[in-house]
Every structure is written in C-alpha cells, then in structure tokens.
C-alpha cells in the first residue's frame, strides 16, 4: 500500500508476498533478490520472516553456509570444482571456512551482499514482517532487529496474501 502524506492509499500495482523460513547465507538470497527486483518492477512486496528466516532481520547479520547435508554445494577452485564429503562438513570450523569462501566468491563475482539487498528492499518500501511467535519461541528481542520491520502473525501475512498476485514460500 502506498503512502501519501502519511495516509495509506490502495494502489493498483501488482502484489507479491514471500514467506522466508531459512536463515542461512545461501537461502537468504532468493527472497531478497526477488523482493528487490519485484519492487524495481513496481510490484508491492510483503516479506514475512518466520522460524530461521527471522535471523535475516537481525541488525548484525552473521550468516553462514554449510556443506553438511548439501551434496550440490560445488565451489569453483583453481579451474576445478570442490565438493566436500559430508564427513568433512562435520569437522568444527568447516562451516566457518565454507562461509568465508562463499563470501569471498560473492564479492569477487560482483554479487550483492545480503546487507546491501536488505537495504535496497527497505529503500524501495518492501514491507517486512517479523513473526511474533518466532520472537517468543526463540526468545529474540525486536530491538535486535532492524527498525524498518513490523511484527505480526499468520493472519497479518494472510491478509496480504489474499490480495496478492504471487505468493511464494522459501
């Protein structure tokens, strides 16, 4: 919904909602890429962050990616591709190492950071809703989250979803 002089007015724009349930570095990309791109294409976007997805709203993001249980994670290295056996993924420190490698790759290839995409989302008026139940469940505090969010529940998302053209679950 667009805002004019502080009053919410209905818009004729297409609408989309995305439910974000995952809090790892790799899974953070699809919702933020689609939300920012849709907003750039004049779509009204609502993102609902629940369970691990709520981590994506923290002021201080410490996102990680793990090769554990992910046989498709194939990292380019010296012209080859490296796939880590699950056993290796279990060794302490491997998740941190894989996360650093992924972040270096992201920078090298000109891919935006999640912080950048999230800021782009707030600047383009993407509505971000943090799940109240998840806050309670994991004993998280709204003050740890970025200021631009609102807090709501399933019915809050449902209201948006009912009037949306696209509803995605990630």
């Amino acid at each position: 919904m667009a805002e004019e002089n502080g009053i919410k007015v209905p818009s004729n724009a297409k609408k989309m909602t995305i439910i974000c349930t995952k809090g790892s570095l790799d899974w953070a990309y699809p919702p933020f890429i689609l939300a920012t791109t849709a907003a750039a294409m004049d779509v009204d976007v609502t993102m609902f962050f629940t369970f691990y997805g709520l981590q994506l709203l923290k002021k201080d993001l410490k996102l990680k990616v793990t090769p554990l249980g992910n046989p498709a994670m194939s990292m380019p290295m010296g012209g080859m591709h490296m796939v880590m056996p699950n056993m290796v993924g279990m060794i302490p420190g491997v998740t941190d190492m894989a996360s650093v490698m992924m972040k270096n790759l992201i920078k090298k290839k000109g891919v935006a950071s999640i912080e950048e995409l999230r800021e782009a989302a707030t600047l383009s008026d993407v509505r971000m809703i943090g799940c109240q139940m998840t806050l309670d469940l994991f004993e998280l505090d709204k003050s740890d989250m970025i200021d631009e969010i609102e807090i709501g529940g399933a019915a809050t998302w449902m209201e948006s979803a009912l009037e949306s053209d696209i509803n995605l679950y990630m």
Binding site: I33, T36, T37, A40, M41, D42, K109, G110, V111, A112, L117, A120, S124
Partner: protein, 75 residues
C-alpha cells in the same frame, strides 16, 4: 543520446536492474538512461524489465564484453 549513464560493469543480478530503476526514478519522463553491464543475464532481464514496467528499451548492443542498453523513461 543518453541523458545519464549508469556504469553497472562487474555487477551481478539483480544489481544492474536495481541501480537502473533508481537512476530512472531520478530522470524526467522521456529522458534516456544508458546502462553499461558485463552480466550476460542482463540482456534478458532488461528486456523483461522494460516490458513489465512500460519503460522503452530504445537500443541495445554489445561489443563482446560490455552490454549497452538505452532505456527511455516512460511514466
């Protein structure tokens, strides 16, 4: 020719589109934005972006390395 140039070389999806949208917002209707990109995916993306938003893709070419788009802002 272009009224403004956006250098998006080296940037990957969706940054060229996001930056182009921001640049278009700063232009008056009828003005033309030139976007330079090295992302091969930007060809299909700028065509789709213009079809969906109604902005006019006036011209596009590529010299083998850099993709160049001329986008006219349409209200």
């Amino acid at each position: 020719m272009a009224d403004e140039v956006l250098d998006a070389k080296g940037l990957n999806c969706p940054l060229p589109i996001l930056k182009a949208k921001k640049a278009l917002n700063g232009l008056d209707d009828g003005k033309v934005l030139e976007v330079l990109s090295t992302d091969p995916g930007s060809v299909a993306d700028f065509e789709a972006f213009c079809r969906a938003t109604g902005n006019e893709l006036v011209e596009q070419d590529n010299d083998g390395e850099v993709y160049r788009f001329l986008i006219k802002r349409v209200a």
